[in-house]
Amino acid sequence: MNWAALDITILGPALAAGAIVLVTHVPLGREVLQRGIIFIDLAIAQTAGLGVIAAGGLGWDVHGLAAQLAAFSAALCAALILTWSESRFGKFQEALIGMLFVLAATGSILLLAANPRGGEELRELLVGQILWADWHTLTPAAVISVVAVTLWVEGRNRFGRIGFYALFALSVTVSMQLVGIFLVFASLIAPALATRNLKRYAVAVGYAVGLLGYLLGLILSAQFDLPTGAVIVWALAGVAILASWLIPAESSV
């Protein structure tokens, strides 16, 4: 037990980071689950990482704004490819997403072999650590997430497929740097799975499941001195299982 670590000034920014990720990932997660393209976030994240390494290879500064632009441009390219492939090869979409993932991941290795700079940046980008989040980095992320979710809610019928993939690319690029790829995946899938049977209030319940998971994970991590991101993934899974066990009974009434 470690009471000193249970401190709002330590856990507060991490919880806020979780909330920012959930804002976009709960509604997007339902869409991902419905389309059956679960591994899209891994593919997009890996492509964003490839963009940063390519920027490093061109001699650009791999920190700061240039890296962000490179990451987002690469993620957007991946989104455009996936938009096109879904209309062209519909039922093989998940397989193509898998191929995109391994190509981006191994492409990073090949680029890094020629130019080792960027290796650490790739690691930072893919395994952002939730505890290092501070208000300075949270503010722009919060703004981007709120804009993204507003566009999604207001314009999902107008933007169609391409709008979904572009917003997805943006929110994954932002959130993986805040909390890391494992938590991005868990935040996307766990609340969506828990609320799969709900017709009404599904997004609201999804937010509750997600926030509860983050809160529980942070407390457990502080109390038992365990790596924070990994514990939150397990807490999210636990809360989601509990919620999906409770929900079918309620929704059938």
Binding site: W3, G119, D134, A222
Partner: protein
């Protein structure tokens, strides 16, 4: 979040009672020391004795370049009086973030509460030019200074001054402990150096260029490194050319740290019949290295008779 503050308070109170019950030295009298690596925590305990409480961020079997963030790390740095790290960008991936989150002005770099060990040692491998194509080169020189015991002595002298400055009331206690430690250490360094005499000039292969100070001290000859560039896994052509090179050389051992992947070493060892061994690089990295003295005892045991 008043509930968490309450829990915090209850927690601190019960901790105090626990310490009183155990008859331990009261926590408020001890200088709190946060070390990045186990060797500096061990050194702080050698000089500080009962007057300090030292903990290390990484253990002997973890890679110091990377660290998993835990809330307790931030909490510990927040209430610490003195941070001792290697510096020279060894911890650049996580220490600046940790110090920023801790938000404790007393232990920021430049403040008396922050001691970078590499400030007191002449660094090897300071690059003439930092060429990014050469890999993750440390621009200030090679930071893995703790594998030469003479560097430990240099840092000990600097640490004594710092402890006396931070905790003037105990200055004589620290001076006495330092005198005792450095006498035993100097004697041990002489013993190790003469024990290692047969190793002088012997060829070795390393996994990562983290042994340059040990190599410099013992006069070893590093003929090859498994990583073709620092931090980059070996490529097939690099391994093949290394294999060819090593056929014609009398190589004593292939060495790596406890946290490094054994596959590359074993691949080369299987093909060349050169023994691949783990050398302790710090306290707690292999069995029987509970303090700084035993690190170098075991290091020489393994180097003198390398067996897998």
């Amino acid at each position: 979040m008043s509930s968490s503050e309450n829990m915090n308070r209850i927690g601190s109170c019960s901790l105090c009672f626990l310490l009183l019950a155990l008859g331990a030295t009261p926590a408020w009298a001890q200088l709190q020391i946060f070390a990045c690596e186990p060797e500096w925590a061990a050194l702080a305990e050698e000089l500080g004795g009962d007057a300090v409480e030292a903990e290390s961020a990484v253990t002997g079997v973890q890679d110091v370049h990377y660290i998993q963030a835990r809330p307790s790390l931030i909490a510990r740095v927040r209430r610490t009086d003195l941070v001792i790290c290697t510096g020279a960008e060894l911890e650049v991936g996580w220490l600046p973030l940790l110090l920023r989150q801790a938000n404790n002005s007393a232990i920021q770099p430049g403040a008396p509460g922050f001691l970078a060990a590499t400030d007191f040692v002449d660094l090897l491998e300071q690059p003439q030019t930092v060429d990014r194509a050469l890999g993750d080169i440390h621009p200030f020189g090679n930071p893995h200074i703790q594998t030469d015991p003479r560097n430990i002595a240099r840092v000990a002298a600097a640490l004594l001054e710092r402890l006396q400055m931070m905790d003037a009331a105990q200055a004589d206690y620290y001076a006495a402990r330092y005198a005792d430690f450095s006498a035993r250490w100097d004697e041990a360094v002489q013993r190790w150096t003469s024990r290692a005499e047969p190793l002088r000039g012997r060829a070795i292969v390393t996994h990562h260029r983290s042994w340059v100070y040990m190599i410099d001290w013992l006069g070893l000859d590093e003929v090859a490194t498994l990583e073709s560039k620092p931090g980059v896994p070996p490529s097939t052509s690099h391994l093949a050319s290394m294999l060819e090179q090593l056929q014609n050389e009398d190589v004593h051992a292939i060495i790596r740290s406890a946290y490094q992947n054994s596959r590359g070493s074993h691949w080369l060892s299987d093909r060349t019949e050169i023994p691949a061994v783990v050398i302790p690089h710090t306290v707690g990295s292999v069995d029987g290295t509970d303090d700084l003295f035993s690190v170098f005892d075991v290091m020489l045991d393994v180097l003198l008779e390398p067996e897998e």
